[in-house]
Symmetry: C2
Subunit: 245 residues, 2 copies
């Protein structure tokens, strides 16, 4: 496999960074190829703007997604975006490795999503979910957080079910663009646990990565379950795996 | 009321910008005070980093939330953060006005959340949800998107229920910090509708804003429903309003 890890943590010695480093060595030891984009180290620009396009279809009024499509066709996307898109398109497995900030990704990583998941390439028209532009690839969220597992255990938990809190990422972003989304690896309570607990957590993560090719993806909508106006055709096919999250 | 609008759109002539402008004039006409932070116009820095702190509790290892708390106590937060925090603390109603990018806020606005919702001020310890640091204030998401209403109508819809897609923002961010969250104003299908439809949508938005003091907030967890370890004490109190989203 070609593995592409997009890593975003402001502290180079963080546990989150150790997870990224462990993933690199684990995948390489198994004979896979690994690419890493360390967004803080790259000083990644997260702000989607007119400056992302060397040529414009409409120079007077910016519709970002339309200009993405146009600029990609003209080879006029900003160089930093093109470089990331190339890594993404070469990948079989994409791992987003980050600390949870406000139940989502840090802004620097949100800006990677905003700028690199280019309209017309990663999605567009009726090309989304299982028909999305990145179909055939897998993705996984891998993150650290302060909370404990019982706080995200189910809908009675204080923050509700983890996968629903992550819906905007797992369903609204990754699955939408065609990626098969593997269950997330959540490193809970990291700021509060001791060295031994952290070591055990890294061992768990290593185990998770070693077995990753056997992990069943989460279940998301399939285009065949909807008509061309995207109204549901009937009951979704629950046999396809877990229910949609 | 003191109204604080955080606006984030890369196109100054966008419909989304017209919504922001309409909110300003509507609230001012009703005698309210309005503050606007136009993040693109301000060239807002969205990247949470060590540079945000003029003094550090631990200069060798960055735990962002701990340094927020420390720097706030020392008056050593970056000037751009302090200025936004002051506007936030003065507000009775906070409106986030933005185009949906990947089922969430644009990165520039995510970075406002990451940097301005300062630990120790907006939340901390067991001060969250109804005990959060911003308790007593209200907030609302106001956004444009390409999708149509039936695509977010309920859990059978292709993208599931809108409020679940927005859970990370409405529950995991705004409600978590103590804000009472009003139902969102969603301007659907904006890139595809004509001038008359847009004009009608602005009229709807104006109506929504004029009546906003009578709108019932969404229902989120209350700390009294959980023990000190944040395990649920029993069935949540459904009488408090709508069920949690």
């Amino acid at each position: 496999m070609n593995v592409f890890i997009i890593h975003a943590h402001p502290e180079p010695h963080s546990f989150c960074t150790a997870m990224k480093d462990l993933a690199v060595t684990t995948f390489e030891a198994a004979g896979h190829t690994v690419q890493v984009s360390d967004l803080y180290a790259m000083n990644w620009n997260p702000v989607a703007s007119a400056a992302d396009f060397g040529a414009r279809s409409n120079p007077d009024y910016l519709v970002y997604a339309l200009e993405q499509r146009h600029a990609h066709g003209q080879g006029a996307l900003a160089a930093d975006i093109s470089a990331e898109l190339e890594k993404l398109l070469a990948a079989d497995l994409v791992i987003f490795n980050f600390p949870i900030f406000w139940c989502s990704v840090p802004a620097i990583l949100k800006g990677w999503i905003d700028r690199v998941l280019v309209s017309g390439v990663c999605y567009g028209g009726l090309r989304f979910y299982d028909k999305g532009g990145l179909a055939g690839k897998k993705a996984m969220l891998s993150f650290t957080l302060g909370a404990q597992p019982h706080m995200f255990a189910d809908e009675a938990a204080i923050h509700g079910e983890l996968n629903l809190m992550l819906r905007h990422l797992q369903r609204g972003t990754l699955a939408y663009a065609g990626l098969r989304v593997l269950p997330p690896f959540a490193a809970y309570h990291v700021p509060y646990i001791d060295h031994d607990a952290r070591t055990a957590m890294l061992a768990d993560y290593r185990e998770h990565l070693v077995n990753i090719e056997n992990v069943q993806p989460l279940r998301f909508p399939k285009m065949a379950e909807f008509d061309r106006q995207l109204n549901p055709l009937g009951q979704p096919d629950k046999a396809g795996g877990q229910i949609s999250v």
